[in-house]
């Protein structure tokens, strides 16, 4: 990995990390939803600093070049993120359903 690539990758990883921490600090992002982004930023940082690890992973998964490995893990990350959000939305849907039912039942009670 060229030094310039390494510097760009480290910079992006640090920016992601700082942005997430700042969003959590300002309470724009809840701690429980920030962990996946922090893990991603951390992973990117480790790969940028330790380029031999990226080469080893590339060999391990059978990819031809290191950029394929990065895209591969990028897509995996997006799939995991979408799955995670689907789980969160399912939980919200259940909570909204219960709230809606409670609202309707209480309204009926008040009308009585």
């Amino acid at each position: 990995m060229f030094i310039r690539q390494q510097v760009v990758a480290i910079t992006i990883a640090v920016i992601i990390f700082i942005t997430i921490i700042e969003l959590v600090r300002r309470r724009k992002l809840k701690e429980e939803y920030s962990w996946l982004w922090l893990v991603t930023g951390g992973g990117l940082f480790v790969f940028a600093v330790w380029s031999d690890l990226l080469k080893a992973v590339t060999r391990f998964i059978g990819a031809g070049i290191s950029t394929s490995t990065i895209f591969f893990f990028g897509i995996i990350f997006l799939i995991v993120l979408n799955l995670y959000f689907s789980i969160v939305i399912s939980s919200f849907a259940n909570q909204i359903k219960n709230l809606g039912q409670e609202l309707a039942l209480l309204k009926k009670k008040v009308q009585k």
């Binding site: 849907a93 259940n94 359903k97 219960n98 809606g100 039912q101 609202l103 309707a104 039942l105 309204k107 009926k108």
Partner: protein, 242 residues
């Protein structure tokens, strides 16, 4: 005297709801009627109320299962012993309400299903629906170890213990059908079918139109599969939680 509530989820049924309530009243059975207005944009709640039924209006359209579950929660809190659930489109003939009431008080079953196929082959449906219903009834029969002829029937009578089971988050919000019967069986509830005659419904208006049948079949297979994978719920004898 045991109290019975008829729960009818209704979504934009202004054209049918007064007739359905009127037909139930004509049966002279000792029961109350509750309409769950599932976010209708027409005059369904006003007409239902003017027809003498109690009405609960959900704040937005939440789906058939959620509307039914609201009725179960109401029935539990108001101390009803049984719930009979019916459709608002007039498909379910109220003359069978008496059969349900006389059968449920015998206490030899927890859930009564009104089967349109026990009373003869007079109910006309498309071949695709017939195949789908046959498949799910077959799967239900196999798992329950008893003959189930109409696993998709929404004309049912439930006792209070079943209501306590259904007010949990395990109850599906969209199409509670064969998967729920299997869930009930695994939880130890006793299920019985009684013959009813159903009127033909407007298939274009129901869940049997558009791509919904495909979703229904997929969802039902998935739901049955994961229900069988889950740990058996221990529910018999447990009090209502909500």
């Amino acid at each position: 005297m045991e109290k019975t509530l008829v729960v009818i989820p209704a979504y934009n049924e202004a054209g049918n709801i007064a007739r359905v309530i009127g037909e139930i009243r004509k049966q002279n059975e000792p029961l109350d009627i509750l309409i769950i207005n599932d976010g209708s944009s027409d005059a369904t709640p006003e007409i239902a109320s003017a027809s003498g039924a109690a009405v609960i209006s959900l704040p937005f359209n939440m789906g058939y299962g959620s509307a039914l579950q609201t009725g179960y929660k109401y029935a539990l809190r108001e101390g009803y012993d049984h719930v009979v659930q019916m459709d608002a489109d007039g498909q379910h003939d109220p003359q069978y309400l008496g059969h349900f009431l006389r059968e449920i008080v015998k206490k030899d079953s927890d859930v009564l299903i009104g089967s349109r196929f026990l009373s003869g082959p007079c109910y006309k449906i498309s071949w695709a629906r017939k195949v789908g219903m046959g498949v799910f009834s077959g799967i239900s029969s196999l798992i329950l170890g008893q003959r189930v002829t109409d696993s998709t029937s929404g004309y049912q009578c439930l006792n209070r213990e079943v209501l306590g089971f259904f007010v949990n988050d395990i109850y599906p919000c969209d199409y509670p059908d064969a998967d729920v019967l299997i869930m009930l069986h695994l939880a130890g509830f006793r299920i019985k079918e009684i013959p009813v005659v159903m009127r033909a419904n407007n298939e274009n208006k129901t869940m049997h139109s558009g791509i919904r049948p495909l979703y229904y079949v997929f969802k039902m297979f998935l739901s049955i599969f994961v229900t069988l994978l889950r740990k058996r719920p221990s529910t018999r004898g447990r009090g209502p939680c909500s």
